[in-house]
């Protein structure tokens, strides 16, 4: 112990008086040959680290497939994903000549006549003819039934989400109303929200634990809202707004029903965002909705869709161009390949049809 104390004292004791010259530095004991060996060791060590890094990269990227999934440059499911002048094709951003939108009444040559407009026999881009709501006895009755169905669903669900009305109940309603789609088409104003595949992602409300796929981004949301605003006058004055959510076939019935619910919920949010100018107005706007989630039952057929005059609201300006191009092909009786037809049918069923029911067609208004 004493030895230790002495050593500590010796360490702390000034080596030389302060007044003396600076302590000379201890001599360097390295040998001249050391430098060569050091360079060699450094070289080996750095090379080893680089090789190790490269080996790890090779292992994770190529040997163990799936650990580092190849991320496509784009997914084609959001607005402006590839930047100006580029479009997303098969996971890559490519430059494609952008076609200008044809003005109504002008020739369809060299421009895109965007849905809901279409090129007529004279190759002129025409807007659909919009009649006033007929408000036939049948349609007024139908609106009454819709309201009753909604009330029944709400009370059965204990006041919870409308679109969670069980699929069996919805099917029952559809069986009793064979002309469901036809009747809704009697209301000439509306929109058709279309969604990319697997969107919106199912979340906790649909029983999915985690949201792995993030959709949409701000630009895509803004795109939807801006499109809805084009019909804001009619939507604001509507007595009811009926939302009918669908899903394409492919997954399980439950999953498709969940997708339809999620689509209805998303469309509702976009409508509220577009129609309410203040936060207080949101409550007022939200009272208008009558919602249906059909899942994959009663899919929309392509021919039936062609007769829809509702503007399609898609997720990006690219997608509406693509849709219009396919519709134009169909309108000109050009044959679609099987995959094109299938893709098109899937797309129109990943949708929410939004029908504006004016005050005059709703009894008791």
């Amino acid at each position: 112990m004493n030895k230790l104390v002495q050593r500590i004292r010796a360490l702390l004791k000034p080596a030389r008086p302060r007044s003396s010259a600076p302590v000379p530095a201890p001599p360097v004991q390295a040998l001249a040959d050391d430098v060569g060996v050091t360079v060699l060791i450094y070289g080996i060590y750095f090379t080893m680290v680089v090789f190790l890094g490269a080996a790890l990269y090779v292992v994770f990227a190529f040997v163990i497939p799936g650990t580092t999934p190849t991320i496509p440059a784009c997914r084609g499911d959001r607005e402006g994903e590839c930047g100006e002048g580029k479009v997303c094709r098969a996971g890559s951003c490519v430059t494609e000549p952008a076609l200008l939108e044809c003005a109504v009444g002008s020739s369809c040559d060299g421009c895109a006549c965007l849905q809901p407009n279409s090129c007529d026999g004279a190759n002129v881009c025409q807007s659909p003819k919009l009649d006033k709501a007929a408000c036939s006895k049948e349609s007024i009755e139908f609106v009454k039934d819709l309201q009753a169905h909604q009330a029944a669903c709400v009370s059965n669900a204990g006041g919870e989400m409308l679109s969670s009305c069980p699929a069996s109940k919805v099917e029952e309603f559809l069986l009793n109303h064979q002309g469901f789609d036809r009747l809704l088409k009697e209301f000439p104003r509306g929109l058709l929200f279309l969604y990319p595949s697997n969107a919106p992602p199912l979340d906790i409300l649909e029983g999915d634990d985690a949201q792995k796929y993030l959709w949409p981004d701000e630009a895509t949301k803004k795109h939807y809202v801006e499109e809805v605003k084009k019909l804001s006058k009619e939507l604001k004055s509507a007595r009811h707004i009926v939302l009918v959510g669908r899903a394409s076939r492919g997954g399980t019935a439950n999953k498709n029903f969940a997708f339809a619910q999620a689509r209805v919920r998303f469309a509702r949010q976009m409508l509220i965002d577009a129609l309410a100018e203040t936060h207080i107005e949101r409550s007022e706007a939200s009272k208008k909705f009558i919602e249906f989630a059909l899942g994959d039952v009663r899919p929309l057929q392509l021919d039936f869709f062609l007769s829809y005059s509702y503007p399609a609201v898609t997720w990006s300006s690219q997608s509406i161009h693509d849709l219009s191009k396919t519709l134009e092909k169909l309108g000109r009786n050009q044959a679609l390949t099987q995959s094109e037809r299938r893709e098109m049918e899937d797309m129109i069923n990943r949708s929410v049809a939004i029908f504006v029911i004016p005050t005059e067609c709703s009894e008791g208004s």
Partner: protein, 421 residues
């Protein structure tokens, strides 16, 4: 008798050996601290659960602590700069031992001591302060000890004499080297800070397009802010987050129950109140009766009424709940204005239309939905440690649970917060 063969080994000079060991310790540590910075970025700003997969048993707690961030950047950023500087010095000493060793001894020794000191401080804080041991950080503690030993090896005079005499021997060359070392360290930190801030901003921008919650809130390590909080007398051991809708009659009873219950257990129980309006005007939930009663407007009115009228937030909450006694819709313009007039509150409508108010309510609802709550009233019973939520919560969906049941759940959570699980 065979002649014994005498093997001769090449001996390194002291400085060369020190330079080699410095490099051997600092290069892996440099790579590892870069990895820790990436880990911190991904868990703090991208919430991708990476930390949960690769970093449990203590280091998730240590890396999430406030000490893990210094001046806005993770502490591992300073570690990276430290190892980069040590590595640079090791290369210089190894390649030009005769030129640079005498002048580099002091900065290497200072760095060695600083590294060891930081390890002891951080290791001690993790063990005694947080009650955990960070396995990943231990790798860096070991490297720091190795660097300290190498620095001592480089200084033939020993630790204290090396420091003392080194300071006395400072001349223009050694001063310049010290200045270069300091500048390199600061430059490394600043470059990383810029890269980190850029990556964090990108991640936040991307994230805010999809959610209003922070990663901490998503992982239940923090709760959103609320004005309606019943704090415990000491650091809370259990936090109850009650989610309510002002238009729901069960919620009114539930709020009353939890206020009374908190009074009985205020020594350890904290209760916080959050909006879970099931009016689609406010968020994704939808309940027809609540929608008809404009519960979203009710939530906005409560936030604003409380801010404008001042006083006890719970008295204000009670006043808003009392609108349920009025004709439906409870939170109509007329009812809200009558309430504002009665209490002399001006500017209620303007406040309700302010984006901040709406965002606050949306955040509460997002948080509730994220915690898998689908309808009001609901509650989360969360164990707390060091005053912060800790561990997973027990969910109470729907109200009207018996007091015995609640007692049992609170006891269970309290035991978990004390680590009796």
């Amino acid at each position: 008798m065979p002649r014994e063969r005498k093997k001769s080994y090449r001996k390194f000079g002291r400085e060369t050996f020190a330079a080699l060991t410095l490099m051997l310790f600092s290069l892996p540590a440099l790579l590892f601290s870069i990895f820790l910075t990436v880990l911190k970025l991904r868990t703090s700003y991208r919430c991708d659960g990476f930390m949960h997969n690769v970093c449990s048993s203590g280091c998730d707690v240590a890396l999430a602590d406030r000490w893990a961030v210094v001046l806005g950047v993770p502490i591992s950023v300073y570690g990276t700069a430290f190892y980069a500087v040590v590595l640079g010095l090791a290369v210089i000493i190894g390649l030009w031992p005769f030129t640079f060793t005498p002048t580099a001894r002091l900065p290497v020794l200072v760095l060695g001591v600083a590294g060891l000191g930081s390890s002891l401080l951080l290791g001690g804080y993790a063990w005694f302060g947080l009650g955990v041991w960070c396995i990943y950080c231990s790798v860096l503690y070991v490297a720091n000890f190795g660097i300290f030993l190498s620095a001592t090896l480089l200084n033939a005079e020993g630790l204290l004499r090396g420091l003392r005499n080194g300071l006395r021997r400072i001349d223009l060359l050694s001063g310049t080297i010290c200045w270069a070392v300091l500048s390199a360290f600061i430059a490394c930190v600043l470059v990383q800070k810029r890269l980190y801030s850029h990556a964090a901003a990108d991640a936040l921008r991307e994230r805010h397009q999809h959610t209003s919650l922070s990663c901490e809130q998503e992982d239940l390590r923090a709760l959103p802010q609320t004005a309606f909080e019943l704090p415990s007398e000491g650091p809370p051991e259990v936090i109850v987050a009650l989610f309510f809708d002002l238009a729901c009659t069960h919620c009114r009873r539930e709020a009353e129950f939890w206020r009374t219950y908190q009074q009985e257990h205020r020594d350890f129980l904290q209760v916080e109140f959050f909006h879970l309006s099931a009016d689609p005007a406010c968020g994704p939930l939808d309940s027809s009766p609540l929608r008809q009663n404009e519960s979203c407007s009710g939530a906005l009115a409560l936030e604003c009424f409380n801010a404008l009228a001042g006083g006890d937030p719970f008295v204000n909450l009670e006043r808003l709940f009392a609108l349920q006694d009025q004709p439906s819709p409870y939170f109509s313009v007329q009812n809200r204005e009558a309430l504002a007039r009665e209490h002399g509150v001006n500017g209620l409508t303007e406040c309700m239309n302010a984006p901040d108010t709406f965002q606050r309510i949306s955040q509460h609802i997002d948080f509730g939905v994220r915690m898998k709550l689908t309808a009001p009233p609901s509650a989360l019973i969360i164990p707390a440690r060091n005053g912060k939520p800790f561990g997973s919560a027990l969910r109470l969906r729907g109200g009207a649970k018996s007091k015995d049941y609640i007692d049992a759940k609170i006891r269970e959570s309290r035991a978990r917060s004390r680590g009796h699980e």
